[in-house]
């Protein structure tokens, strides 16, 4: 019991000091004391429930990704077959497959040949993304499960990227953007004043297209909702101004507005109406020039997220690679669109399925009160322990204080986030740490009462109590790990603190106090102890 080799003492102290030092920057931050910026400063992140801010959970629809893939495939098939000069009937994208009839059944194999390269994806696995079946003159392309999964994953990766770009351009500090599960993105922005603007920005897909208006469309048929072949009917973005009717727009032959180098919100020189001016990159500019050159005098539709912003006449070829978009913007919405366009279009629509916003005042209030309450509570607890166990109580208290610092320090080093439920985890581990010392000290009392000598009683106290402490902590570890794996948000926050706290509790309440008690017994060799 008294035997504590030097290396062991040094190791215990080293661990203690390092982890406690790591807690310092966080403490400085709470008390608003500046921390020298040249020093390494790991800090506990405060959860949004404590610090204020917004948490958004965005979800993409898996169906949409699937549908888009079919549409892209249909377009690829069409252009491939045109190159190969194989005539086909209408390409259908119904029933989750791309299917069509080859006009000349003898060319079925030639068509298969031409499409073969489209069916393997970019993945390294060598798996096919599409299954190609030829049944007489009918060709069916069905997406494979692996292909869908990969497409979904790629779409979500790039969506996450776009979300990050947009939020960065808003100028918010330290946003957290994480992909979650198959089709979700978590966005956390601390200290945000106006979550509505953030939602408006992330809510628009920002898919900009320039498409030709179908002038051959029969207005009465359009009014009945029947689109001419090769066209589709699109609603206007501003029904107040342009009416609730729909415009027939050609499906193909337009260009996408994604090849941009810049987009800026401004005002029209003459009307002073808010507009967005975009600058194409070289390839985009060339395409735009060709489109406008070939169609002088005809109207084209500027389409944003499937809605017609405006449909101006092309008066002359636009060769400079610049275009201005008007469409009843406010200066705020023009600005948001500009940000969205520069950041790129989202490959899928994102919906906000969960939102949690906490005002910054409340957050700050909560922290101050929480810290204050914890300090008073811990102080009262320490007094109680000191009057109950005397010297041994002081050891327990020192261990408790170090325990708190160590939890904070390790949380800082691991870059974890402290939330309200995390504070509960903190309280539980403090309870467990106190309990460990209570168990030990009660046991020492018992052994003394049975007439054992001091050293023997202390030794037995630690040994016998350790069994219960061990079992109790293992069960808590099991619970914490399970909670972390199964639980979400708050439950996880709780589990993290609990896991760290269990380790530090055992370390401080059992090992550190044992070292101190051993030191005391060795130095003073008391024949009796007050306990």
């Amino acid at each position: 019991m008294l035997d504590f080799p030097l290396w062991r003492r040094l190791t215990l102290w080293a661990i203690t000091i390092v982890t406690c030092l790591a807690a310092l920057p966080s403490i400085f931050a709470v008390t608003n004391t500046p921390w020298p910026s040249s020093l390494y400063a790991p800090k506990v992140n405060l959860g949004l429930d404590l610090a204020g801010g917004s948490h958004l959970l965005l979800e993409a629809s898996a169906d949409q990704i699937r549908r888009q893939r079919l549409d892209t495939m249909a377009e690829d098939v069409r252009s491939r077959l045109r190159q190969a000069k194989i005539a086909v009937g209408d390409i259908s994208t119904k029933d989750g497959t791309v299917s069509f009839m080859v006009t000349d059944p003898a060319k079925g194999d030639a068509a298969r040949e031409a499409l073969q390269t489209l069916t393997s994806g970019a993945s390294m696995s060598g798996q096919r993304d599409w299954d190609l079946k030829v049944d007489g003159g009918k060709i069916v392309l069905a997406p494979t499960e692996a292909g869908i999964k990969q497409a979904q994953s790629m779409a979500m990766d790039s969506a996450t990227d776009v979300v990050r770009k947009r939020i960065d351009k808003m100028g918010t500090r330290e946003p957290t953007i994480i992909r979650q599960g198959a089709n979700r993105i978590v966005v956390q922005v601390p200290g945000l004043k106006d979550p509505a603007a953030l939602k408006a920005l992330l809510g628009q897909t920002a898919k900009l297209e320039f498409r030709m208006v179908d002038l051959t469309a029969d207005p009465t048929l359009v009014a009945q909702g029947i689109a001419p072949a090769g066209s589709e009917l699109l609603p206007y973005a501003n029904p107040e101004k342009d009416g609730t009717g729909r415009l027939a727009v050609r499906r193909f032959g337009g260009i996408k507005g994604d090849q941009l180098t810049n987009a800026v919100a401004g005002n029209d020189d003459r009307t002073n109406e808010p507009i967005v001016s975009i600058t194409f990159d070289q390839a985009g500019g060339a395409k735009f020039a060709r489109l406008t050159t070939e169609n002088v005098g005809k109207p084209f539709a500027i389409v944003l997220d499937g809605k017609v912003l405006s449909a101006p006449n092309i008066q002359e070829p636009i060769l400079g690679g610049q275009a201005r978009i008007s469409g009843s913007f406010t200066s705020e919405s023009a600005n948001q669109l500009a940000i969205a366009l520069v950041s790129g279009a989202l490959p899928v629509d994102l919906k906000v399925v969960e939102e949690r916003s906490v005002g910054p005042d409340l957050g700050a209030d909560s922290i101050t009160k929480g810290v204050y309450a914890m300090a008073i509570g811990t102080l009262a607890l320490m007094i109680f322990i000191a009057v109950t166990y005397g010297r041994f109580g002081l050891y327990a208290n020192a261990a408790l204080a170090i325990n708190g610092l160590m939890i904070l320090g390790i949380m800082s080093l691991l870059d974890t986030t402290l939330t309200l439920p995390g504070i509960a985890g903190f309280v539980l581990t403090i309870g467990a740490a106190v309990d460990a010392n209570v168990l030990i000290n009660e046991r020492i009392r018992e052994e003394r009462a049975r007439g054992r000598k001091v050293v023997q009683a202390v030794d037995l106290g630690y040994k016998e109590a350790s069994r219960a402490i061990f079992d109790a902590n293992i069960t808590n570890v099991i619970a914490a790990v399970l909670m972390f794996v199964v639980g979400s948000g708050p439950v996880r926050g709780f589990a993290i603190v609990l896991m760290i706290g269990i380790v530090t509790s055992v370390f401080t309440a059992v090992w550190l106090t044992r070292m101190w008690v051993a030191g005391y017994l060795r130095r003073n060799r008391p024949s009796d102890i007050v306990l």
């Binding site: 906490v358 409340l362 309280v427 539980l428 168990l439 808590n476 619970a479 639980g487 439950v491």
Partner: protein, 325 residues
């Protein structure tokens, strides 16, 4: 120096004499709790049923104008709001169902939040919007499932561990005690109609952890005494174990209570429900480890020699010496 001693040495309270009536009362309480949960229902927050919750503090008023708020928000045409004070009387939470069709078009939910906050601010300029939570039906369903699963998985895994470390009867006893604690706490939430949200699930997990700690301490002592006094009848042995650990039980419970009461009285209002749940849990948990998890061992017929194979040669020597003496 004289130290504080809350429990005198060598107490011999015959706790288990009253085990049957206590068991009956506790079982009735569990049934009553579930009855309350079934009939009165839990006041589930938006985490579990979806919807929108707006928290408001009236910074310049002593109390929030609840009746006025109910009327003015009700008039917006989104249905009846559920308005509740929490923490201080000038802080309220307003809960609404999400408008029809907002699963498809999330802008509808935003619009509702905007209208409500505008109404509140227009009527009282001192109103401070502290937060907006908006949870769609699908997500709330998942959150509920995950929370329930976490609770259940934790309880079962813990019981299995105790079964492995002790005996199967101990595992059953621990599980029963945990079910008792969770049930009673849920019963309290049904009774008081305090809001039950995800944070409360974390509170339930805390109290499971705490109660379990207590149970294990008592069980550990029972195990030890079973090895020591192999001819002692179980009820006596349990009483002895509970008495021997009584001082520890009291000191630890008080320690945790001190911290919790500080949080309850001085802490931030947002965690009031949370801390209240844990505080209640301490009482329930301490009680259950004495009266639920110990007596069940008698009924499940734990035999005094259950732990004999684990006796080492050294322990055997010690025991023989003791029994001889």
């Amino acid at each position: 120096m004289k130290l504080l001693k809350l429990v005198p040495d060598n107490t011999n309270i015959r706790f288990l004499r009253w085990r049957l009536p206590f068991y009956i009362v506790s079982t009735l309480l569990i049934i009553a709790s579930w009855g309350l949960v079934m009939t009165k229902g839990l006041n589930l927050g938006v985490d579990f049923i979806g919807g929108q919750m707006i928290r408001v503090t009236y910074t310049q008023s002593a109390t929030a104008p609840v009746a006025e708020l109910r009327e003015s928000v009700g008039k917006l045409g989104y249905g009846e709001p559920i308005i509740q004070q929490f923490g201080k009387p000038n802080e309220v939470s307003i809960r609404m169902k999400l408008p029809e069709g907002s699963d498809e078009n999330t802008a509808l939910a935003d619009e509702m939040a905007k209208k409500i906050t505008a109404t509140i601010k227009a009527e009282h300029s001192d109103a401070r919007i502290d937060g907006v939570d908006s949870v769609s039906g699908k997500v709330s369903e998942e959150l509920g499932k995950q929370g329930g699963l976490a609770l259940l998985a934790a309880m079962i895994a813990i019981s299995i561990y105790i079964w492995v470390r002790f005996e199967w009867q101990f595992g059953v006893g621990a599980l029963y005690a945990l079910a008792h604690d969770v049930s009673l706490t849920m019963g309290m939430f049904a009774l008081t109609q305090m809001e039950f949200d995800l944070n409360i699930v974390a509170a339930l997990l805390t109290l499971i952890g705490y109660s379990l700690n207590d149970t294990i301490v008592v069980y550990d002592r029972i195990r030890e005494n079973m090895k020591k006094y192999r001819r002692m009848p179980m009820p006596e042995l349990l009483d002895l174990s509970v008495n021997e650990t009584l001082s520890r039980t009291i000191v630890t419970s008080l320690s945790v209570l001190i911290t919790l009461i500080a949080l309850l009285v001085l802490g931030p209002d947002v965690i009031f429900g949370f801390t209240a749940a844990i505080t209640l849990g301490i009482f329930v948990g301490t009680y259950s480890s004495v009266y639920m998890s110990a007596p069940i061992l008698i009924w499940l017929k734990v035999k005094p020699d259950s732990f004999v194979p684990t006796e080492t040669a050294l322990e055997r020597q010690e025991r023989l010496a003791r029994e001889g003496a």
